[in-house]
């Protein structure tokens, strides 16, 4: 019997998983590690264990991301963070955190499979996002190091600005991957045609 194989969220129905034009490029980022850390008590977040694991103190400022050792840590809610990065690295940290928090009220969950991840970049990226998402992503209001949860069409989304180019990372529930892809790629096309 063969080993089980992995499939990415855009595995079916969508013929292309990348779109590129002069103004904007869009692609799916597959096999990207995502985990969530939820602790009940806020002092846990400052715990040396957590900091040691992450290589950095988890961000306390709402809607910000910090670079840890190997993973990025994004604020998701009070006492909740997303760990983002290489799948294996995320898995390793998760396992360690689970052990560290064994006796605490905490959830450390790998959610790699729950998300579809897209990367959208170039000068038109903001316009494409603005056609689907109510966030103000103007450079004065949003910048690299910032993240937010909001809506993309009618689906929830996590948005992170990765650099000035600009490049944005989008994460939606993977069952909305097709929907998000459709909306995003159509918006990309409309951008080039008008």
């Amino acid at each position: 019997m063969s080993k089980l194989e992995r499939m990415s969220p855009l595995g079916r129905g969508i013929s292309a998983t990348a779109y590129s034009s002069e103004f904007v490029s869009l692609r799916q980022q597959t096999f990207f590690g995502v985990a969530k850390v939820i602790v009940r008590k806020s002092d846990l977040l400052g715990s040396p264990e957590l900091e040691a694991l992450l290589g950095v103190r988890a961000p306390q400022m709402a809607n910000t991301v910090v670079q840890g050792s190997g993973v990025e840590i994004a604020w998701a809610a009070p006492n909740q963070w997303l760990l983002l990065g290489d799948e294996a690295e995320v898995a390793r940290i998760c396992a360690a955190a689970q052990t560290a928090f064994r006796d605490e009220t905490a959830l450390v969950l790998q959610l790699t499979h729950a998300y579809a991840v897209f990367q959208i970049e170039k000068t038109g990226a903001r316009d494409v996002l603005a056609s689907l998402c109510p966030l103000d992503l103007h450079p004065r209001a949003f910048a690299p190091g910032r993240c937010a949860q909001s809506l993309l069409g009618d689906a929830g989304v996590f948005i992170q600005q990765c650099n000035e180019a600009p490049s944005f990372r989008l994460m939606v529930d993977q069952t909305y991957a097709g929907y998000a892809w459709r909306l995003l790629s159509e918006a990309c096309k409309s951008l080039s045609s008008s």
């Binding site: 129905g13 969530k36 939820i38 009220t105 959830l107 316009d127 409309s190």
Partner: protein
């Protein structure tokens, strides 16, 4: 009107001729024309028929205030009903037709209505058509009503949307708007400037003015250039601000392709903007009011400013010889424009007693200016032939015997100007009546919005520009920018006299019938109608509106509302300020329904979520359906099977061998913490306090009103760690509820919660051979009956992948629910199908699952229950009474009505007529003797043909059903009755022997 094209001038591009058709006849216009100006240039004077009397109508205005020239554009998927000719940019190949005229504009049969006009006053329909019955008249009335025709083909266009945020939004790109935007923009603030026009400059485009030293055009060009170059400033032309909503949100509609020839259109047609502005400046200008006098609706009678606009901007003159009738100075400016462009000014009748400075200038230049005079009638039917002018006495009544008949082919009137305060008012802004300009002007508003220029009631351009410059800078400062005041442009030669309000030319002293005087041209509302409404006690401005339909047409009374209020002032003897306005509502000008829908069309309306192994299901012949937003196989059809045959086959496969079902959408919520047990015990009806690690328990959840909300299996994964299962459609709802209770009601509980539904794909292996099949996999979990009994949960690995297995069953057979990380779902399904081949594994769909659970008498929340079902109705009375602790909804289960013993209860229903046909879900349960009308005893909630039992089985909710088991009832479906017996739910394997294997 005998309009014509001027030899030179205008903002049209004579090097780009465009051809178009109107009512099938071809014409030529130029780039830069509107359909309205092109028709005028071609001398087409009659553009439409009025709504009620079918009177011939021509252009009144040059903008979105136009009430008459309503067109049907194009056809098929491109059709556009009811567009205003004045708002359509001409493009090559445009095809337009008039609306509401049959068989043709010039010969319209329903124009007989106009002969009966005296018998069909305002609101006549409330007084007649009662005998014998309204339904006999309604069809004819309906056919006569309506303007254009709804498109017949589906819309193929794309409608884009855009959110935007800015510091200062300036609406209106006339002089005031440009000036305000410039002032704000220089501060570096994020500025948006929008205008629905294709070109910038607003009324300046049609004026003789200089701004500062420069011709207006140069000034406009310079400012626009500066704004374009400003990095944080965005200019949107062809963009209408249609609505002002809460908290600074303004809706815009940008027309991207409507101005292009059909063949050149691509990409989205419209873009619907939702702009959140910290501060809004409305520089929307003012709308000129027509004078109200007999036959003022004749083609060729126009607004003075519109006449000037056509000539100056479009090089289309409204006629060769014009008579002006005015009551304020602006008409002189319009007259000057027309005169400069070669139109003969036959006379100007000015209602004001003395000559104003402007009037004197005019008179001095040789134009016939009649003071204290006005127009009292128009001669000519489909065209203007002459104007009748009369002197006015001090009370504003036309003086008998003072008549002058002046030949002309166009009449241009100005009854004053009304600031465009629509958006301001939508924002919650209050208005006041300004005596000086005889118009409603902005007073105060709770939102950050300011009107400048004519929109603010400031008709002096010099002053308007100064105000605008100040407002622009101040708005930027409010947003935290260091905005310097800029030196506003100034304008010479402005002189403003007063205005003499004559809301309706009083011809009562003159001899002879003169005909009606129109207020609302499109809806055919005359001043007599308003008077009648008031006589009948419809005195509130809102009553007058509704009784006469004044202002309810597709122009929303832009040219008529204020005149109407003026007429009411006269009739009520109450000042206009007290009469007040009707409510301004969005949209400012009609907006396509498709633009509101945007991309929420087709499959994007409510995205269907796919299963992990969707491809495989498809290949296996799945018939997909929408189950609560998930795209799931209802069943798999083999070799042309129908649903019944497929479900029967699949069900038997599960009962006799093994079936495979993808259950990935099942809700999964992780709950952890020292108080998790306590929390869950409060959440479920069932006692969850005793649930041990590695065990599962079925549970029911209520809302606070006691209604069964959801059910599912709660699994205890370890000390202080649980996995709560929910029904597929309810996962998010239950997770939300948990959050709400924890954060709002029980913040002291030491618990954390996270929904993980879509992280795990779930494959349900179901049937007596389920264990045999799973044993073919390399799995770290011991599947033996003793090691892993029913209602237990295990975590481990399968084929090297993390898995979670629960032994739970909706079929009553041996069953494993195996969860693997979603991305492995498809591969796992394939492997299961592969491994199952030797056991004859059959995939099965949701409908088969339903059949299996109905055979077993298992409840399906939402199908068997509804928004009234309490736990005791579905047999949880005992569970409740054995539980001491409170739980959500518990108190509601103790109310008197909850304790009634004739409540509908969950039971089985056994068919007694020997037919194989299942009962109809939704059929009602009646006493055997009763016939309708009858009191229902309940209804069938689930019903299938049971292949295993060889007969139909059904479930239902029946009044006091549990006590009535064994009783015969009648199952009634739209007149057809069948015999049935109330039974205990669960006809198949009632002892549950097959489960514990």
């Amino acid at each position: 009107m005998s309009g014509f094209r001027l030899e030179k001038g205008g903002r049209i591009d004579r090097s780009r001729p465009l051809s178009f058709t109107f009512e099938g006849v071809s014409y030529e216009g130029y780039a830069g024309d509107t359909l309205g100006s092109a028709l005028m240039a071609n001398g087409v004077s009659m553009l439409g028929r009025s709504f009620k009397y079918h009177r011939p109508r021509g252009l009144l205005a040059a903008g979105l205030d136009e009430p008459n020239a309503i067109m049907q554009l194009e056809d098929g998927a491109q059709a556009r009903p009811n567009v205003k000719a004045t708002g359509v940019e001409l493009y090559d190949g445009l095809r337009a037709a008039p609306v509401n005229a049959w068989p043709s504009l010039s010969f319209d049969l329903l124009s007989v209505n106009s002969m009966f006009a005296r018998f069909i006053p305002a609101a006549f329909y409330y007084k007649t058509f009662m005998w014998p019955h309204w339904s006999l008249f309604e069809p004819a009335i309906r056919r006569a009503a309506g303007l254009g025709v709804s498109p017949e083909a589906s819309d193929e266009d794309i409608y884009d949307k855009r959110y935007a945020a800015c510091d200062v939004l300036v609406v209106g790109g006339g002089p005031a708007g440009l000036q305000a935007a410039q002032a704000a923009s220089r501060s570096g603030a994020r500025v948006m400037l929008v205008d629905h026009d294709a070109q910038w400059g607003g009324s300046l485009m049609a004026s003789n003015r200089h701004v500062g030293q420069d011709p207006a055009d140069d000034w406009i060009g310079r400012v626009v250039e500066e704004l374009r170059a400003a990095p944080e400033t965005q200019l949107l032309n062809r963009t209408l601000a249609f609505g002002f909503y809460d908290h600074g949100l303004v809706g815009l509609c940008e027309r991207l392709t409507d101005h292009l020839p059909l063949a050149e259109r691509s990409g989205p047609r419209l873009r619907f903007w939702k702009v959140r502005a910290k501060s809004v400046i409305l520089a929307t200008g003012a709308i000129e009011r027509p004078l109200v006098f007999p036959n003022n609706d004749r083609p060729g009678v126009m607004l003075a400013g519109a006449g000037a606009t056509y000539a100056a901007r479009y090089a289309a003159a409204p006629g060769r010889r014009a008579v002006f009738a005015v009551n304020n100075d602006s008409g002189y400016e319009s007259a000057a424009v027309l005169r400069r462009l070669g139109v003969d000014i036959a006379a100007i009748a000015d209602a004001r007693p003395g000559l104003s400075a402007k009037g004197a200038q005019m008179a001095a230049s040789g134009i016939n200016v009649f003071t204290a005079s006005t127009i009292t009638n128009v001669r000519g039917g489909k065209k203007v032939r002459a104007a009748e002018l009369h002197k006015l006495d001090d009370d504003g009544q036309a003086v008998k015997g003072s008549a002058a008949l002046v030949e002309c082919d166009t009449v241009l009137t100005s009854g004053g100007w009304s600031p465009v305060v629509h958006l301001y008012s939508q924002a919650g802004g209050k208005l006041r009546f300004d005596e000086q300009i005889q118009a409603f002007v902005p007073r105060e508003c709770g939102q950050h919005v300011l009107c400048v220029g004519a929109a603010g009631g400031e008709f002096s351009l010099t002053q308007g520009l100064a105000d605008a410059a100040r407002a622009g800078a101040a708005a930027a400062r409010d947003c935290g920018f260091d905005a310097a005041d800029i030196e506003p442009a100034t304008v010479d030669g402005e002189a403003f006299g007063n205005i003499r309000p004559i809301w309706q030319v009083d011809v009562s002293g003159l001899a002879g019938e003169r005909g009606k005087a129109w207020l609302d041209f499109q809806n055919d509302v005359t001043s007599d109608d308003v008077a009648l409404a008031i006589r009948e006690n419809f005195k509130s401005v809102e009553h007058v509106k509704r009784y006469t339909t004044l202002g309810m047409a597709s122009d929303q009374g832009k040219t008529s509302n204020v005149n109407g209020i003026g007429v009411m002032e006269g009739a009520l003897g109450k000042p206009m300020a007290q009469v007040g306005t009707t409510t301004f509502r969005p949209p400012y000008d009609p907006i396509e329904i498709g633009a509101f829908a945007g991309r929420r069309v087709g499959e994007n309306i409510a995205p269907l979520r796919p299963l992990a192994a969707e491809d495989a299901h498809e290949m296996l012949g799945a018939r997909f359906e929408d189950y609560g937003g998930w795209r799931r196989p209802a069943f798999y059809a083999q070799d042309g099977e129908d649903e019944h045959a497929a479900v029967r086959r699949e069900a038997l496969a599960v009962r006799d061998g093994v079936g495979l079902f993808e259950a990935s959408p099942l809700g999964k919520i992780e709950v952890a913490g020292a108080d998790a047990r306590e929390f869950l015990n409060r959440f479920y009806v069932n006692n969850m306090a005793t649930l041990k690690p590695q065990r599962c328990r079925y549970g029911v959840m209520l809302d606070e009103n006691g209604v069964v909300l959801d059910d599912g299996v709660l699994a205890c994964l370890g000390p202080n760690r649980y996995l709560a299962g929910t029904t597929s459609g309810h996962a998010a709802l239950i997770a939300d509820n948990m959050d709400e209770w924890l954060q709002c009601e029980w913040p002291d509980l030491d618990v954390v919660v996270q929904e993980v539904t879509t992280n795990w794909a779930v494959m349900n292996v179901n049937g007596p051979r389920a264990r045999d099949l799973l044993r073919k996999f390399d799995c770290s979990i011991d599947l033996a009956a003793e090691a892993f009994p029913h209602m237990h949960v295990r975590e481990g690995e399968i084929e090297g992948v993390a898995c979670r297995i629960q032994r739970v069953s909706f079929s009553g057979e041996l069953s494993y629910e195996v969860a693997v990380p979603w991305g492995f779902g498809a591969s796992f399904w394939a492997a299961l199908m592969d491994a199952g081949r030797e056991f004859g594994v059959s995939p099965f769909g949701v409908e088969t699952l339903m059949a299996l659970r109905v055979e077993k008498g298992f409840l399906h929340v939402g199908a068997d229950t509804d928004g009234m079902t309490l736990p005791q109705d579905i047999g949880f009375g005992g569970v409740i009474s054995r539980k001491a602790a409170d739980f959500i909804g518990r108190r509601s289960t103790m109310r008197p009505d909850s304790l009634r013993d004739d409540r509908r209860q969950f039971v089985g229903l056994e068919c007694l007529d020997g037919s194989a046909k299942p009962l109809t879900v939704g059929a009602h349960v009646l006493l055997p003797e009763s016939a309708p009308p009858a009191l229902t005893q309940g209804w069938v909630t689930s019903s299938v043909y049971s292949a295993a039992l060889g007969k139909p089985v059904a479930l239902g909710m029946v009044a006091n059903g549990r006590e009535r088991i064994g009783e015969e009832v009648k199952i009634w479906d739209r007149g057809v009755s069948r015999r049935a017996r109330i039974s205990a739910p669960g006809a198949y394997d009632p002892e549950g022997k097959r489960l514990h294997v």
